[in-house]
Symmetry: C2
Subunit: 264 residues, 2 copies
């Protein structure tokens, strides 16, 4: 089914996801369309997170915010219902993960505000169109993601370190990947680091904190992009009383074309 | 005098160079203006080299070609006399270096064709304007240049390997440098490699084949750009009966603004 989902429209992929039968990553689904990370917060924590996004646009490129209590974000897709259209959600209480659920029926509240943030999956299409191989797509795994020692700029009650996604490339391909992804600032843009994982506080590249490990071949270097899982790390650090996120790698698929959000 | 030359007009810098009193690199002189590598060949070798440039635009970004026997290239600068306006020239016979001279008075011939190629010095300005430190400018040395194992595409009588220039950066700054230099395809554009020197056939990074070594600090990686000294390597390999080049690091300064040749 995953191969079929690649060529379906975003609305059709979301309809399938609503059946709760899609268990894997959304990487490569509805090719060409922007995917979004989610952070859902009570309204009294929302203003601080809005400011956090403004201060940390590389990790948290904001593409949509809902009205409090409204699970729809029509500017991202005419029928998007954020409470049902993501394969898996993580629920947090006081910054601690409490459970993973497939829809938000029992968790939805009238005071929740949804923040939708761009996702690096959106530029994977562009990388492949440039002739580059994206290892996590080749190996059909969720992308490797790591906690780092790169501090985000704090805002109000929110602070914490950046989470990054990693894709290995030869230096020549990494240079091309930097050029290609620079065009997509709403999908984290250019990498934040390449090479030595230790420099950004990653002790063991074979043990990602989220997602799955991919092979790094001889002559390749790991290339690190800011990742929309950053808010989940910030939530653990900042401990809002209640919070919902997408499950890492399982995104909201929007009706917006990646290329419509590219610069240049 | 070098500091003063940075703010002089290209014509004034050339006038000073004509006095044969400027002995060093032209890096940083006449800030903002395009500098050119030179290859000067007998007319019967010129068509093959023109094709070589077409096939190898990253190493040999052609910005001007003279009429046979004419040392002026007015499209590069109204008063440019290529036989006098470069601090030092290298003369080759049958591909072998024979001598370094300060002007071409005794060597000029009626059948010579000048090829002017863009130079990475042109983007060093842009790197510094982006807040990056360029080590060879900081250390007041000629940039480090190396022979590589990267084969150019052969054309007619010309073949040989690429020469690269190297500037060290932290990964974060290297990513920015890739973005900045991508805008300057007529000055070699984006790097061709970063990291492991061995991958491109450089055995000892502390021993450049041309120019001078610069310090590489802890946490930095060497970043390699195609270099306009490539034709000199090609000449050694392809052995035209007669040939003149600029001396590595000592360029022709044109009246063209770097930014006028930037894309985007």
């Amino acid at each position: 089914m995953t191969n079929g989902l690649a060529s379906l429209s975003p609305a059709d992929v979301r309809a399938f996801i609503r059946t709760n039968e899609h268990k894997g990553s959304t990487s490569g689904l509805a090719k060409g369309y922007l995917q979004a990370n989610l952070l859902i917060l009570p309204a009294d924590w929302a203003a601080d997170f809005l400011l956090f996004c403004q201060k940390n646009p590389v990790a948290c490129p904001l593409i949509g915010v809902s009205e409090p209590g409204n699970p729809y974000i029509p500017e991202l897709g005419y029928d998007i219902d954020v409470s049902r259209d993501v394969p898996e959600y993580h629920v947090f209480h006081d910054g601690e993960f409490s459970e993973a659920v497939n829809d938000l029926g029992q968790h939805w509240r009238d005071d929740l505000v949804i923040f939708a943030l761009g996702c690096s999956f959106s530029f994977e299409d562009a990388l492949m169109q440039a002739g580059l191989k994206v290892r996590n797509i080749e190996q059909k795994t969720n992308v490797s993601m790591y906690d780092t020692n790169i501090a985000c700029l704090p805002a109000g009650k929110f602070s914490g370190n950046m989470v990054v996604s990693m894709r290995p490339f030869t230096p020549k391909d990494a240079i091309r990947a930097i050029q290609v992804t620079s065009r997509f600032p709403k999908a984290h843009g250019a990498p934040v680091h390449f090479g030595s994982p230790e420099t950004i506080g990653i002790k063991d590249i074979t043990q990602p904190n989220y997602g799955e490990a991919v092979d790094i071949y001889d002559g390749e270097v790991p290339v690190f992009w800011a990742c929309g899982v950053t808010p989940q790390n910030v939530v653990r650090h900042s401990k809002p009383p209640f919070c919902i996120t997408h499950s890492p790698g399982k995104m909201l698929i929007t009706d917006l074309l990646n290329n419509a959000h590219a610069v240049l």
